[in-house]
Every structure is written in structure tokens, then in C-alpha cells.
């Protein structure tokens, strides 16, 4: 990976040793330390939930649940430096539960996937004027969904965790409880399909044009 791209992936990450120190303090009952951790990761977890639910309300609820569970379970976290991966693991489990409930609800509902895309569009349309054209936002999420929904479950999860949630391969293997070579294989297969997905790549190029 070139240095510029690496910066894009990692510049936003807080320093691991700082996080570990805050986790240690939070584990000893320091509430302010945990609140700082919330401040660091709330955005990441919210977006992680949003990418998978396409609803900001559901993502808000899931984020709240994730941090509540993390707050309760923090004493059980053995390695403080793995906090980020651990938090994403909690989030992923919550999202899976949410989707399971959603599938059950869908049995009694007539709402289809198209409506879901429109819902996310409605939410993003209210964003400030400096945001890109709302039609493009709508098209972007539609293309993302079209692409990721075609992927097998594991490839989809690895792809989103790597390129949208910006987790390292090591963190992904921790979150998914798979060894690193398995994660790399899934990643390879998914980016191979991404390379062939002309419409989404065209959209990405238009987005920065």
C-alpha cells in the first residue's frame, strides 16, 4: 500500500498506547476515561452500524447498545490494546441480532429493499448544503448495496470491515474469529469482484471528479 493511502487508512486512528491507557483507567472505574473512549469511537461505531442497517435511527440505537455493553463488559477485556477490535466485535454481534430480528419482522412487512435505500436517501438529504448532490448520495448507497449484497456473507463482512470501517487485517481476524490467512483469502476474492464492478468504480471516479 502506498504511503499516501496508508495515511488515509490510519491517520484518523487514535494512538494504540493512548487507547490502552484509557482502557486501563476505565477498567479501574474511571468514568471520565470511558467517556473519552466513547468520544473516540462513537462515530466509527455509528457508521459501522449505519453501513449495515442503512438507517440512522437504528444505527443510533445500536451504538447506544454497543457502548452500554462495552461499559458493563470492560472488566472482562483481557488485552487493553485490543479495545478497538473488541468494540467492533460487540457491534457486529449487535448488528447481527438486529438483522435477525429484522428478518423476522420482514415476514409480516411489505417493505422491500428499494424502500430501504430510499429511506437512507431521505436521511442523507437533510445533510448540510456542502454535501454532494443528494442524488449522487442515493446512487452511491444503492451501488454499494448492489455490490455488497451480491457477495457471500464472509466476503462482504471482510470487505466492509477493511475498506469502509478501516480495520486492519489483524483486527478483522480478531472480530470475525478467523485466522489472518482466511481473512486475506476472503479479502482477495471480494476485491477481485470489486475490480470487475464497473458501475461502482465509475461512480467512485465521478465522485472525485
Amino acid at each position: 500500500m502506498p504511503k499516501m493511502a496508508q495515511k488515509e487508512y490510519h491517520a484518523r486512528k487514535p494512538d494504540t498506547s493512548d487507547i490502552a491507557a484509557l482502557v486501563e483507567q476505565a477498567r479501574e472505574g474511571n468514568r471520565a476515561a470511558f467517556e473519552r473512549l466513547v468520544g473516540m469511537f462513537q462515530g466509527d461505531i455509528f457508521r459501522m452500524a449505519y453501513y449495515r442497517t442503512h438507517s440512522s435511527m437504528d444505527a443510533e440505537d445500536l451504538t447506544q447498545e454497543v457502548f452500554m455493553q462495552a461499559f458493563k463488559s470492560l472488566p472482562r477485556l483481557k488485552a487493553a490494546e485490543r479495545f478497538r477490535g473488541w468494540l467492533f466485535k460487540i457491534a457486529l454481534n449487535r448488528v447481527r441480532d438486529f438483522n435477525r430480528r429484522g428478518r423476522f419482522r420482514a415476514l409480516f412487512s411489505t417493505l422491500d429493499d428499494t424502500d430501504k435505500v430510499d429511506q437512507s436517501y431521505e436521511e442523507t438529504r437533510d445533510r448540510p448544503a456542502e454535501a454532494l448532490d443528494s442524488l449522487m448520495v442515493k446512487d452511491f448507497w444503492k451501488q454499494i448495496r448492489l455490490f455488497t449484497d451480491k457477495l457471500p456473507r464472509m466476503e462482504k463482512e471482510v470487505f466492509v470491515l477493511r475498506f469502509m470501517d478501516h480495520l486492519s487485517i489483524k483486527e478483522i481476524s480478531q472480530v470475525l474469529r478467523k485466522n489472518e490467512s482466511t481473512v486475506k483469502t476472503h479479502l482477495y476474492r471480494s476485491i477481485k469482484k470489486f475490480k470487475k464492478g464497473h458501475s461502482i468504480r465509475r461512480l467512485l471516479q465521478e465522485g472525485t471528479a
Binding site: 462513537q42 479479502l187 467512485l204
Partner: protein
């Protein structure tokens, strides 16, 4: 291989380089670092992937509120003392309840009360056993005694013998050897 200008990484090798450059064999890694064309191809693809993440972040809404944590318990560095006080208070409260209940007359049994109760139970038992004995003597209620004639049963043995002769006397009449004597 790395110095050959006509050789370039194929698509699969480029993809593996994007996943993890160290996954490639060492000669290919060397080629990749030396060949501008392969490097450019790889970087172009990586930029697309990085752009995907950037756009996703930009197009996603922001959380509206801050996560609210559970209320802090009124514990400081003397938290253990709060716990100790709570246990002590609970123990004292439980002891008070036991004392109040114990002192209430309904739940209190004195030795005198026990003696009276025992005598009463014995009397009831004797009465009950007397009734059982009477029933053993004659299970019929008094109303039915007249019908059954049991109440005025003063027949003697001679009367009974008359009504129901004993087997010995009756068997004589059926003795084949004495049949003639009896009939005469």
C-alpha cells in the same frame, strides 16, 4: 524477473499485492518496488478502495446525540464502606422483623398453652375411640335396629333350634339303615 521490462504482475498478483504485499513471493515484491507501471496499477486500485471508504464516511449521517452511560453509583474511594453499611443495615432490619414477629401473641406459644392443648387432644381422641368401639359392637344406626329386630332379640336356644334344627338331628332322617325304623 525483476529487471525484465516486458514482465509485469498479472491481475491476481496485483490483487494479492493490494491485500498484503508480503503475500507475494520475494522476486515479485522486488519487481513491484522497481517497476513504475506495476506500482501505478496497484496504487490506482488502492486509491479506488480508499475513495470508497472516504465517500462512505462523507455520505453517512453523523450521530445526533452522545451515548448516555448508566448513572454513576454514589461510590467513591470509600465504596467498600457503603457496601459494609448496606449489609449492616439489612441485618439490623431483618433482626427487628424477627423480634417483632416473635413478640406477637399469635406466634408465641407458652408451656401452659401446650399442656391445655395436649389434654384437649387426648380427650378428643378418647371420645373418638369410644365411638369407634360402639360401631364395632353394632354398626347399624338406632333407626335400623327395630327393622332388623336386633334391639329386642330375646329368643332362647330352644326357639332357635325349632326354627333352624341342628345338622346332627336332621341327618338321622336321611340315614338309609334307619329309614324303616323312623317311618314306622
Amino acid at each position: 524477473m525483476s529487471t525484465d521490462k516486458n514482465f509485469h504482475l498479472d491481475e491476481d498478483q496485483l490483487l494479492w499485492a493490494v491485500v498484503e504485499e508480503t503475500e507475494l513471493p520475494l522476486p515479485l515484491q522486488e519487481h513491484l518496488s522497481a517497476c513504475p507501471q506495476c506500482r501505478t496499477n496497484k496504487e490506482r486500485f488502492e486509491r479506488d478502495l480508499a475513495r470508497l471508504g472516504q465517500m462512505a464516511k462523507r455520505f453517512a449521517p453523523s450521530p445526533r446525540g452522545r451515548v448516555s452511560l448508566p448513572e454513576e453509583k454514589p461510590r467513591g474511594s470509600m465504596g467498600w464502606l457503603w457496601g459494609w453499611r448496606a449489609y449492616a443495615s439489612a441485618t439490623v432490619a431483618a433482626a427487628l422483623v424477627v423480634i417483632v414477629v416473635w413478640s406477637f401473641p399469635m406466634f408465641r406459644d407458652t408451656p401452659g398453652d401446650n399442656g391445655d392443648m395436649l389434654a384437649r387432644e387426648m380427650q378428643e381422641t378418647e371420645q373418638f375411640m369410644a365411638e369407634v368401639s360402639m360401631l364395632v359392637e353394632n354398626a347399624l344406626p338406632p333407626v335400623y335396629l327395630d327393622i332388623s329386630a336386633e334391639s329386642s332379640a330375646d329368643f332362647d336356644d330352644e326357639f332357635i333350634q325349632f326354627v333352624v334344627p341342628s345338622v346332627e338331628e336332621e341327618s338321622l332322617s336321611y340315614d338309609p339303615g334307619k329309614r324303616g325304623a323312623l317311618s314306622c
